[in-house]
């Protein structure tokens, strides 16, 4: 599911100003899991939370694509609707997957930084 972790850059030339806007995490399922790790949320709350978390604003298609896949995997579950809004919660399996993914990303990040330091 989250194996295609990538960072995208929309600019070919990185100047000082664009360094702060270098790219964004574009793995919607991982972002949804990370958002739900702090408690159940409905779609709009997830989008706002994810934007606060990493600066990525998911569109409705990307969000519901991720929700459908995560629900299919059994990593999130829908809760009863609240005023037409449908909250979702992360499952114990989802928490395990999220922890494993973030640990892997952390290792990747450490290895990448180590290489940079060696230059």
């Amino acid at each position: 599911m989250c194996d295609n972790y990538v960072m995208r850059s929309t600019r070919d030339v990185v100047d000082t100003e664009s360094e702060m806007d270098f790219g964004y995490y574009s793995d919607p399922p991982l972002l949804v899991l990370a958002s739900l790790a702090s408690g159940p949320k409905h779609g709009h709350a997830m989008i706002e939370d994810i934007e606060r978390l990493c600066g990525t604003r998911l569109g409705p298609g990307a969000l519901y694509g991720a929700i459908a896949r995560l629900e299919q995997q059994g990593w999130i579950k829908p809760l009863p609707a609240e005023e037409r809004r449908h909250p979702y919660r992360i499952t114990p399996d989802g928490l395990r997957v999220l922890r494993a993914k973030l640990t892997k990303l952390n290792e990747f990040s450490k290895a990448g930084l180590k290489r940079l330091e060696a230059r």
Partner: protein, 160 residues
């Protein structure tokens, strides 16, 4: 976004997806912006669902029932082989009796070929379905093993 546009965008998704998420997705769109970025994102999501359906929620349960796994060609082929092998043995017994013959006839060779050919077919089924739906795949494997044992039983019990 107005209701008409939200409904139009939702209708671009496959029917099964809409049955599960359509209502909440439309409500979600109603509360959001109606800019080009949103349209593009929704259209991309809809095209993706048509190409690689996620079949989320209750639909995934539909997809992974015992029946749906058992009807897969990778399960039907070994099942068909086992049942054909059983039919060959029973047919031979019905025609020529259960007496052991010194020379193996055509029926014996067909039975042996069918029994051996099932093994790679079973392997393919296991590799394909055990990771996707372990419980249902194990149940189907149980059925296949029962069919294989049924095909072997007359040969060993009657010492053919």
């Amino acid at each position: 976004m107005n209701r008409r546009l939200a409904s139009l965008l939702t209708r671009m998704y496959p029917r099964r997806w809409r049955e599960r998420y359509g209502e909440e997705f439309e409500d979600f769109l109603l509360e959001g912006r109606a800019d080009l970025k949103t349209w593009t994102d929704v259209m991309r999501g809809a095209v993706g669902e048509h190409i690689h359906p996620t079949m989320g929620g209750a639909m995934s349960e539909y997809r992974t029932t015992f029946g749906t796994v058992a009807r897969q060609p990778s399960a039907l082929v070994p099942l068909g082989m086992a049942l054909t092998a059983l039919a060959v043995v029973l047919g031979h017994i019905a025609l020529y009796g259960a007496a052991r013959e010194a020379d193996e006839g055509a029926a014996a060779h067909i039975w042996q070929l069918l029994m051996v050919a099932q093994l790679p077919a079973l392997l393919v089924f296991g590799i394909r379905w055990l990771p996707k739906a372990p419980k249902q795949a194990m149940e189907v494997l149980g059925l296949l093993m029962a069919a294989i044992l049924a095909a072997m039983a007359p040969v060993f019990l009657l010492h053919l």
